[in-house]
Amino acid sequence: MMPALRRLGFLLGLLLFTLFAVFPIVWMVITAFKQDADLYDAANNPFVYNLPPTLKHVIFLFTGTNYPVFLWNSLFIGILVVIITLLLAVPAAYSLSRLAGHWGERSGIAIFLVYLIPPTLLFIPLYQIVTFLRAANTVWALVLVYPTITVPFCTWLLLGFFKSLPRELEEAALIDGCSRWQAFVRVALPLSLPGIATCIVFAFALSLSDYIYATVFVSSTASHTVSAGVPTELIRGDIYYWQSLMAAAAIVTIPLAVAYGLLFDRLVKGFQSDSAGGEATP
């Protein structure tokens, strides 16, 4: 064995992966503080500040655009979507894994089928439905439709999770005086918290990332999310406000990455319960 060579390969691998992940973001952060004259001079070294860095564009982002509103909307929508998703997906997953009999355990596939219908196909009729419900052009439109993306995903994830919990625990609870519902709430639910934590992160991330619904269902600036609002406000036809665009992306990304990164091992655990989404655990 060649431990030294192996170690070198290991470090090199880590370095390459980190560079790939971080390079576009470093470039983003560098750009955010550049002066126009520096940015648009093709002869400049793009990685350094040829003119002193400026906070102008970051300040513009917060004072001259509705970015703070977008941030708030994204957060608001994200949190509500997470709540709705959990309210729908947790009982559904439990029901499929424990109560719906044999076909329920195999319904992982069926849940996947819901995914096969991409938003690009649905957004026109969905908009008619959203309007029928008088939610168009408000944040509620997005709160209403984002669970279409998050519920199947989280149900699938939790389905695996519940299946991996020993049945006896809930049966013990039944015998110890719980009804089935209480056994779910008092025993199964606390034990599935790692899975639920994963769901929270994924539901939030998916709702934050959506572009097409956010673009089409909401045109009022006051209701835009970061995802749709930033391109709308900072690409003004003839001009890309590159520095502000980059700042906007960095400001939303970096804190989330820290949060997700700290939860990294948790997220991995969230997927560990199950693999193909349908096989019953013995």
């Binding site: 790939f20 997906a89 026109i124 930033v230 939303v252 991995v268």
Partner: protein
């Protein structure tokens, strides 16, 4: 003593079947109303002559829109590119995710920090990621071009020259490559998490056995790790494929389908035709072409996953 206990009220919470349906019902109703119904509306729409100006479902034209769409020169390209982008992203993502999970399965100092750095792309909304890459691969100001020029790979008299720029989004294969790169970039953390989940749940003694048997790193990887990972790799591919195949933000914000239709993909073309162009029904028809492709892909992947898993179960 017993008598008092048995009078405990028997309620809804005790009837498994009924409770099961009640717990499932909200999700089912929600999905039926907001996925099922619009899906059938979309199908209905695709068989009419509806336009954005008059989107009501009337004026039945049968499969006319599908025939019309099939005849356009953009269709084969959009289908081809959708498949290329999806498969390209899929293969690269899986290979890289497997490699990355091999690294991250170990413990080392600074792992926390590295996890934060590696998950960065996934924390960025896809539209902002696309804009980031639009700027990163800008035709004039790309720092990648600048680096390439500085190591004399680009520019007059160099291997990639003579131009001073590569014009990523202005070329067919570089454009598709860039779209693949963006998708790989943003989905790699997600795929790595899934693969890592599978990787860490492989029993340790298998690896120890392999070590005892004298298998090297690559031997172990190909004979032990990968076969054991197969089911979870299928799951990762499903998610990756579905996220990429249905996405239009990356294309819409970078190449816009150009040059010509060289990098056009089905979802953006559907959007362009249906919304920008106003031909709602034709847009719906294009979008519906995605469905059978996705369905076939999903069934294939799931079958493979089940087969791999049931084989793995056997002692």
């Amino acid at each position: 003593m017993n008598g008092a206990e048995t009078t405990a009220r028997v309620g809804l919470g005790d009837r498994d079947r009924l409770l099961g349906w009640l717990m499932l019902a909200p999700s089912l109703l929600y999905i039926a109303a907001l996925v099922g119904l619009p899906f059938f509306l979309a199908i209905a729409l695709s068989m009419t002559s509806a336009t954005v100006g008059d989107p009501s479902i009337h004026g039945f034209v049968g499969l006319g829109n599908f025939v019309q769409v099939l005849h356009e020169s953009a269709f084969p390209l959009a289908l081809r590119n959708s498949v290329i982008v999806t498969l390209g992203t899929l293969i690269l993502t899986l290979v890289l995710a497997t490699a990355e999970s091999e690294l991250l399965v170990r413990d080392f100092r600074g792992k926390r920090l590295l996890q934060i750095l590696l998950i960065l792309p996934w924390a960025m909304p896809v539209s902002l990621a696309a804009i980031d890459w639009l700027w990163l691969l800008d035709s004039e100001f790309s720092p990648v071009d600048w680096l390439l020029r500085h190591i004399h790979l680009l520019g007059p008299g160099s291997p990639l020259g003579p131009a001073n720029h590569l014009y990523y989004y202005g070329k067919e294969w570089l454009g598709l490559g860039a779209i693949v790169a963006i998708n790989v970039w943003r989905l790699l953390p997600f795929a790595t998490i899934i693969v890592l989940a599978g990787r860490t749940s492989i029993a340790r003694d298998i690896f120890e056995q392999a070590q005892v048997d004298g298998a090297g790193f690559f031997r172990t990887l190909f004979s032990i790790t990968l076969p054991a990972l197969l089911p979870i790799l299928m799951v990762a591919s499903m998610f990756t494929a579905l996220l990429v195949f249905g996405d239009m933000a990356v294309t819409a914000l970078t190449t816009r389908g150009g040059p010509g239709y060289a990098t056009q993909v089905l979802p953006y073309w559907a959007y362009l035709k249906g919304i920008d162009g106003g031909a709602l029904s034709e847009g719906a028809a294009v979008a519906l072409f995605m469905f059978p492709v996705l369905l076939a892909g999903a069934i294939l992947a799931l079958r493979m996953a089940y087969r791999a898993e049931s084989q793995g179960d056997r002692p």
